[in-house]
């Protein structure tokens, strides 16, 4: 085939613009790249870099959406930008297949998975009989590692686990033997151990079928172990492009260097922020429990949702002590109960069992009214920077809220205090009267931190405080939390699914699974000598930037 001599993918001067209420948004702006047959390229970038938009253009998915696409896109010998509808349909799935981020919503909920794959097969192989197509579906399902594929092909998507669904979606992609696989954040919705399995599968399939891969991801670690070439995007443009090791080990561009520097490493000890001398507050964050006063003590904490047969135990007998001034990291995969635990610790949720003591006083069973006295001392920073601020109130008013509720300070004092807090978290003190939508995600998270600081709490529970943020913003917010903890002598409970992020802040680490604590100990020792097999598996699954680690 002569096509093999040409590049598999060739994109020249691609621009994609979306008309919107506030004018035209240029998501991709003059992007060019090529991919050789059988090659693998990762497009990496932060949110808004246009990486997914560019990937969608490879299959002509912007057609009919109102987006303006210019430039040329050629995939496996087809001119996607000029193709008529019939040719475009042949390209989609036949020459290039796509795997999407959320495997649950990406499959038809009403139909058996095997039927869905068979349907796609028959679209591209009009001669194939129904039976052939079904057989092919079972074959590819088996190929992607679905056990008992013939039987499971009759299941509907909701009967599969998240990882299995993503495998099924990959099987659909394989159904018509495409020459290119485009994977848009294929592992972002998955837990880290499942992510590792899916990435392994992609590597195997590539080696076996010789198809090309374009992997769109925000995670440099995921890209590092899966592709040959790396394309770094920012604001719709290519910043840097080259062989993966070259870009990662010796980046040319400052942006790439900053990006790499911001990536948290799970295999690097955290740099302990030393407390400036002369600040008199109990408890040092660095040396672990030098001071043994337990601030918050949970004993056999339980929480069930629902009643009767449908009851689900989210947290199942967790005992945990948080001492003044220390940071406890809580890690776990989805469904481990970590968020429920965090919400119980600040009493946004009532425990169904067990005991929760704050400075010796049982607060686990207090009612809302009785809790008010303790509210100011236990605060929380939330995950979602969008929903954690009331869009109808200025950020200053949001921060002032706990002060106004306490009713101790006058109006002028409150405003002064809010300005001070804004400055403390790295925002313009003049931003008092601005509204949340005027701020970026990272800035909103800073506002959330300022609000948590306002009533001068002793303990802040941070529930995935940086997981919705881009990696550079993530690093800034994590650094801010570290500084605040050091300067104010706060106790922090830092809940996250990302083991590397947690390592950057924690004195002690708690690993949760299925509502229980499986391992607990000083952070460095858990990370370096995990005792529990689950923790070991978790740590081994974290994708690493460095090749030495990637082999492990």
């Amino acid at each position: 085939m002569t096509a093999d001599l040409q590049p598999l993918v060739s994109v020249t001067d691609l621009s994609v613009a979306f008309p919107s209420e506030g004018g035209v948004v240029r998501a991709v702006d003059g992007l060019s790249f090529e991919l050789a047959p059988g090659g693998a390229l990762a497009i990496v970038g932060e949110s808004g870099s246009g990486k997914s938009t560019a990937a969608y253009a490879l299959l002509g998915l912007h057609r009919g959406t109102g987006a303006e696409v210019t430039g040329s896109v050629r995939v496996a010998g087809h001119d996607v930008s000029a193709a008529d509808d019939a040719e475009l349909r042949r390209v989609r799935g036949g020459a290039a297949a796509m795997v999407f981020q959320d495997p649950l919503s990406s499959l038809d909920p009403y139909q058996a998975i095997g039927d869905q794959i068979a349907e796609v097969h028959r679209v591209h192989r009009p001669g194939a009989s129904r039976r052939d197509a079904r057989a092919r579906a079972v074959e590819v399902l088996g190929r992607v590692g679905i056990p008992d594929a013939a039987r499971r092909a009759r299941s509907r998507p909701h009967e599969f686990s998240g990882g299995m669904r993503q495998r099924a979606l990959i099987a659909m992609a394989l159904a018509c033997e495409p020459r290119l696989l485009v994977a848009d954040e294929p592992t972002t919705a998955l837990d880290v151990t499942v992510q590792a399995q899916i990435l392994d599968l992609l590597r195997e399939l590539r080696a076996e079928t010789g198809m090309g891969l374009i992997l769109v991801t925000h995670d440099l670690g995921v890209a590092a172990g899966s592709v040959d070439d790396l394309l770094v995007m920012k604001d719709g443009r290519a910043v840097e492009r080259g062989p993966v090791r070259t870009v990662l080990d010796a980046p040319d561009e400052t942006y790439t260097r900053d990006l790499l520097a911001a990536v948290p490493r799970v295999n690097v000890r955290r740099t302990v922020l030393r407390k400036p001398t002369g600040v008199g507050s109990s408890g040092g964050p660095s040396g672990g429990p030098s001071d043994n006063t337990a601030l918050l003590e949970a004993t056999g904490l339980r929480r069930e949702f629902g009643r009767g047969k449908r009851a689900v135990t989210a947290v199942d007998g967790v005992s945990l002590t948080v001492r003044a001034g220390e940071t406890v990291g809580v890690v776990g995969e989805s469904g481990s109960g970590k968020t429920t635990l965090g919400r119980m610790l600040v009493r946004l949720l009532e425990p169904t069992g067990g005991e929760l003591r704050y400075r010796g006083r049982d607060i686990g069973t207090l009612r809302e009214r009785e809790l008010r006295a303790f509210r100011s001392e236990l605060q929380m920073v939330f995950q979602d920077p969008v929903s954690s601020l009331n869009p109808r109130r200025s950020i200053g008013e949001s921060i002032a809220d706990p002060l106004r509720a306490a009713g101790k300070l006058g109006d002028a004092e409150i405003v002064a205090r809010v300005r001070e807090l804004l400055e403390r978290v790295g925002l313009d003190p003049g931003a008092y009267h601005r509204y949340p939508h005027e701020f970026s995600g990272g800035q909103r998270q800073r506002v959330g931190i300022a609000r948590a600081l306002a009533p001068e709490p002793r303990l802040i529970v941070c529930d995935e405080p940086v997981s919705a943020l881009d990696v550079t913003t993530q690093a800034q917010v994590v650094r801010l939390l570290g500084e605040l903890q050091r300067d104010l002598g706060l106790a922090l409970v830092f809940i996250a699914h990302d083991l590397a992020v947690v390592r950057q802040v924690s004195d002690r680490l708690v690993v949760m699974r299925g509502g229980r604590i499986v391992e607990e100990g000083p952070a460095d020792s858990v990370y370096e000598q995990p005792r529990d097999p689950y923790t070991q598996g978790l740590l081994a699954a974290v994708p690493l930037l460095e090749p030495a680690g990637a082999a492990a």
């Binding site: 036949g94 038809d108 909920p109 909701h158």
Partner: protein, 329 residues
């Protein structure tokens, strides 16, 4: 699933009981002496006293309600002077107007209402789903604009306006159709259909506007879902995208609404029946309201309530069966 049905059935029984109690008490406590109403305008106080005794109107309300319930389940005997009138099991009492059994009156009027409901439903499903799908699939075109305005106009029109206009055009001016006068299906199917045509169209077309809007929005919502994007990205032609992957989810709420509407139409097509002089349950209700024939009014309200409650359970089940993501709880 079984526990779900059991729970819903128990809930429905409870709702209908509470509803009937509320209705019963409201109507029999209300000002206006039931005995006087039952007896008629030319009664003397002594006759009224007799009727009061007959109907046991001096018993406490709860006892009266209990008798009412008993009547519904086991039947009841009424003494009229020397004769004894027996009222069979689903007994809702005797009409104040002519001492006829209320149940018989209702059964008599059921065919007209059922004819209207079934025919109109066929019209509104065909027209509503058709236009809804068409305007969802022809987005942004002139077709969509015209259909959008038509459905808006449809939702803004009461049936007595569309009915009047239809009567004026087809009966008075063009003289294509007879002025509707109900002919039972069993008597003459052709005349039945010919006479029902205008009521069907008048009610069906208006209702179809609601269905068109629901179909349109639900289809658009389904077409925007991620799994549709998946199949589009795999080269599945638009036509089979809609037919195989969007339609089922899109029509789930439409089917559910149909079931719910079908329940309420049994008592609720009052306007259409009055407009076209159909001898249905709605017409009976309005007449009984004007003559304050309490047993009939109470019966119609309670039966309609029961029909609606049952229809809603059916609707929920149909919705869950059609859209498997909704769990029955």
């Amino acid at each position: 699933m079984t526990t779900y049905f059991l729970r819903r059935a128990l809930g429905a029984v409870a709702v209908v009981l509470v509803l009937s109690a509320v209705v019963y008490v409201t109507f029999y406590v209300a000002p206006g002496d039931p005995a006087r109403l039952a007896c008629g305008p030319r009664c003397n106080p002594e006759q009224i006293r007799q009727v009061r005794e007959q109907l046991a109107l001096d018993d406490p309300l709860l006892v009266q309600y209990w008798h009412f319930l008993q009547g519904v389940f086991t039947g009841q005997d009424y003494s009229a002077g020397t004769a004894v009138l027996h009222c069979d099991a689903p007994c809702f009492g005797l009409s104040y107007q002519n001492n006829q059994q209320v149940t018989d009156m209702l059964v008599e009027r059921l065919p007209a209402t059922a004819s209207l409901a079934v025919g109109a439903m066929v019209v509104w499903l065909a027209v509503g789903i058709g236009t809804g799908l068409l305007s969802a699939l022809r987005r942004g075109g002139a077709t969509e604009r015209v259909l959008t305005w038509l459905t808006l106009a449809g939702t803004a029109t009461p049936v007595f306006i569309s009915g009047l206009v239809l009567l004026m055009v087809f009966c008075a001016y063009l003289e294509w159709l007879p002025f509707p006068s109900y002919v039972p299906l069993t008597e003459d199917p052709e005349q039945w259909a010919w006479n029902m045509l205008l009521p069907w169209v008048a009610l069906g077309l208006l209702e179809s506007a609601k269905y068109a809007r629901l179909t349109r929005s639900s289809t658009l919502e389904t077409l925007a879902e991620d799994h549709i994007r998946t199949f589009r990205a795999y080269g599945v032609p638009e036509r089979s995208l809609v037919a195989r992957h969007a339609l089922r989810g899109a029509l789930a709420p439409v089917i559910a609404l149909t079931a719910a509407d079908f329940g309420s139409i049994f008592g609720g097509a009052v306007l259409t029946e009055m407009m076209f002089g159909l001898p249905g349950i709605g017409q009976l209700l309005v007449r009984s309201t004007q003559t304050i024939d309490l047993p009939v009014v109470v019966a119609v309200v309670v039966i309609t309530g029961a029909a609606v409650v049952i229809a809603n359970i059916v609707a929920d089940v149909l919705y869950a069966v059609a859209d498997r993501r909704v769990a029955l709880r």
